[in-house]
Amino acid sequence: MKAAVIVFPGSNCDRDLAVALERAGAQVEMVWHKESDLPSDIDMIAIPGGFSFGDYLRCGAIAANSPITRAVVAHAGRGGYVLGICNGFQVLTETGLLPGALMRNAGLKFTCHTQELLVETEASDFTSGYSKGQTLRIPVAHHDGNYNADEALLARLKGEDRIAFTYGNNPNGSVADIAGVLSENRRVLGMMPHPERVVDTAHGSTDGAPLFDALVNAVVSA
């Protein structure tokens, strides 16, 4: 399983994400945003958290128009896996790979704490290592995680079982407590919480590890 972690100016969770993927057995290459092509034979792309381009204009908007992002969209179009965490989720909504938008937290404050998270579906290669209804404790750290979807989109996400995770105690005003959503083909996941920060007992929790393990296993056994 070969994974690419995209690095933008202002990314700051890129190395954590690489370590989490390597720990699950992936071979990881870091790819600078100015590259226009991905390394060959990439199975999955991970877009890390951080503050790409200083969050100028809107979070993720400039990154969504970086040269490498065209290659990311093409990879997703071929049915490839893409995981976007925090700022990575914002980038994915800005590219249109995931629907909806992430707005300023309703409480206006940057929120940074260990968050209770509920697994809403196990029917994806990202979430198959969890059980539906399972409660996880995973850190959040963001200022713009308030997921916005109109009623039609919300009904569609629910009807197609595309809500991956919801918050236990909504920290940001997200509609329907949504913390993570899947694409139509279930190969693209965007989520605000940081599973890469809880993959080792030394982190105080390993609740994030099953996500990376399940994904790597899905690719290896495919």
């Binding site: 204009l57 128009n65 909806g100 707005m103 309703a106 005003g173």
Partner: protein, 80 residues
């Protein structure tokens, strides 16, 4: 030619920053502010001199980058 692009959250999308400003105005004693919406203004200096062509290009810029049309609306003003 200059273009000014006004980007606002769409009607119906809650604007938490506007709400915070409204509360702050109330606590300063400015009564009667029923609503505040906060947006942004982007000024562009263009080499294009034809108004129709400029409007068409700036509209494309708004759709592709300057506004997120999922949650934001935009308005373009052109001047010589």
């Amino acid at each position: 030619m200059k273009a000014r692009v006004f980007v606002m959250l769409k009607n119906g999308v809650l604007d938490p920053q506007g709400e915070a400003v409204r509360h702050a105005l109330g606590s300063l004693g400015f009564d009667g502010v029923d609503g505040v919406r906060q947006g942004k203004v982007i000024e562009l200096t263009l080499s294009e001199s034809d108004e129709a062509a400029a409007r068409s290009t700036v509209t494309e810029m708004c759709e592709k980058l300057l506004a997120n049309t999922v949650i934001e609306s935009y308005r373009i003003e052109l001047s010589a």
